[in-house]
């Protein structure tokens, strides 16, 4: 079972790199969101630095919604989903493996890009480190919540935007705690640990609940 799950993960990562449009596009989109903010806000560096963590988080959140709809839809369209369903492996485990692969190819590049993009916003080193740490812990939650939307959108030919709209409200708590932890790291009286632990908890909970809900949705919509 472990070998089969590893094969699912390796295949999805390989496909993402060969087909393109996954992580690379996400990072470019992230860059685009971050660079347009100074144009909108104006040349006020202290202000930009203050809202910088929020901008990074919004950029990463929006970028992570791109490509979510393809997680299951691509396999549904070419019949691979049928192949995944006649294995003895629970669908929940397969969904989790596909989620991990999606995070490696789209979430992780965003985390890696975050410190560089933070420099563009004039963040202090401490805020850079905090933003990157919260994104590292928080982006898995975005991916695994996204799995639910991806499964719900599986039978829709143009489900991309719908999946993003469905998932966005669910990600608000992660956004709140992510930005709160980053802000707390630079302003003294507030503790960094509490919101950071809450994001970690949200990530762990969504790692469990996301695949279960996604598998349930796939079973319903498999028709």
């Amino acid at each position: 079972m472990i070998a089969a799950l590893r094969a699912v993960l390796a295949r999805d990562v390989t496909l993402a790199f060969r087909v393109g449009g996954g992580g690379g596009i996400g990072v470019v989109f992230f860059l685009a969101v971050v660079t347009i903010v100074p144009f909108a806000v104006g040349p006020d560096l202290p202000l930009i630095a203050r809202i910088g963590p929020a901008v990074l988080w919004i950029g990463a959140l929006l970028a992570s919604l791109l490509g979510l709809d393809r997680i299951f839809a691509a396999d549904h369209e070419d019949g691979s989903l049928d192949l995944l369903l006649i294995t003895p492996i629970p669908l929940e485990a397969i969904a989790a493996a596909k989620g991990v692969a999606h995070w490696i190819t789209t979430g992780l590049p965003l985390v890696v890009a975050a410190p560089l993009l933070g420099l563009l916003l004039g963040l202090e080193p401490q805020a850079l480190a905090a933003a990157t740490a919260t994104l590292l812990v928080g982006t898995p939650a975005l991916t695994f919540l996204g799995l639910i939307g991806a499964a719900l959108g599986v039978a829709m030919p143009r489900g991309g935007l719908l999946v993003a709209v469905l998932i966005l409200p669910l990600t608000i708590p992660i956004l709140i705690f992510g930005v709160a932890a980053t802000t707390a790291a630079v302003t003294d009286p507030l503790p960094f640990g509490t919101p950071f632990k809450l994001i970690a908890a949200l990530s762990l909970a969504s790692f469990v609940l996301g695949p279960i809900a996604a598998a349930a949705a796939l079973r319903q919509l498999r028709d």
Partner: protein
């Protein structure tokens, strides 16, 4: 081993395709499902594979491993070839083996059996429809499973491919395997049971 279906009913999109369908397929036998377009042949195969829930009835593989569902004892080759164009021919088959379980032929041997040995390193996107079908059928050989569920397996196959398919099928059946095949084309197989689905019920 015996594949038994009792009182099966299938409803798709509010329309009843068939009801009260029952049959038994014994080891070494092939069940050929025929019928006009839209009679429910593909749906019956998906039902047997566990990819669709039946509206009523029971499907069981008797004398097999009771822990194993019918779907996990079956190979399913449907209309879609379940291939990834971005992977090579050998990678596609390797993935299927990791997923369905090894124990059958090696990748090279399975490709050679379907006449694809020269294409192993080509990307699957470059394959013709007949070659894609051959690659999908190669899955049958890499992982031994007692029940083959084939939906129009001869589609796009040339004369040589159809002969290969008939030979592989004969080997599978003589080894005690079972098969359920939905087809319009006449397949050269012995020991065949046939059911004919009509629109709205059994003809």
């Amino acid at each position: 081993m015996r594949l038994v279906a009792e009182d099966l009913a299938c409803v798709r999109g509010g329309r009843s395709l068939f009801a009260g369908l029952g049959f038994a397929v014994h080891a070494g036998e092939a069940l050929i499902v025929t019928g006009p377009n839209g009679a429910g042949k593909s749906s019956l195969l998906r039902l047997l594979a566990g990819l669709l829930p039946p509206a009523a009835g029971r499907i069981a593989l008797e004398d097999g491993d009771p822990e194993r569902s019918v779907g996990t004892a079956a190979h399913f080759v449907g209309h879609l070839d379940a291939l990834k164009g971005a992977l090579t021919v050998a990678e596609n088959l390797g993935f299927a083996r990791a997923l369905l379980g090894a124990g059958g032929m090696e990748i090279e041997a399975a490709l050679a059996a379907l006449g694809l040995e020269r294409l192993a390193e080509f990307s699957a996107r470059m394959l013709s429809a007949g070659q894609r079908r051959r690659l999908a059928l190669a899955r049958l050989l890499i992982s031994p499973r007692p029940l083959w569920l084939l939906d129009e397996p001869a589609t796009a196959l040339d004369a040589d491919g159809q002969e290969t398919l008939a030979r592989l099928m004969a080997q599978h059946l003589s080894g005690g395997g079972l098969a359920v095949i939905a087809t319009h084309a006449a397949l050269k197989i012995e020991r065949v049971v046939e059911i004919r689905l009509g629109v709205g019920g059994i003809a």
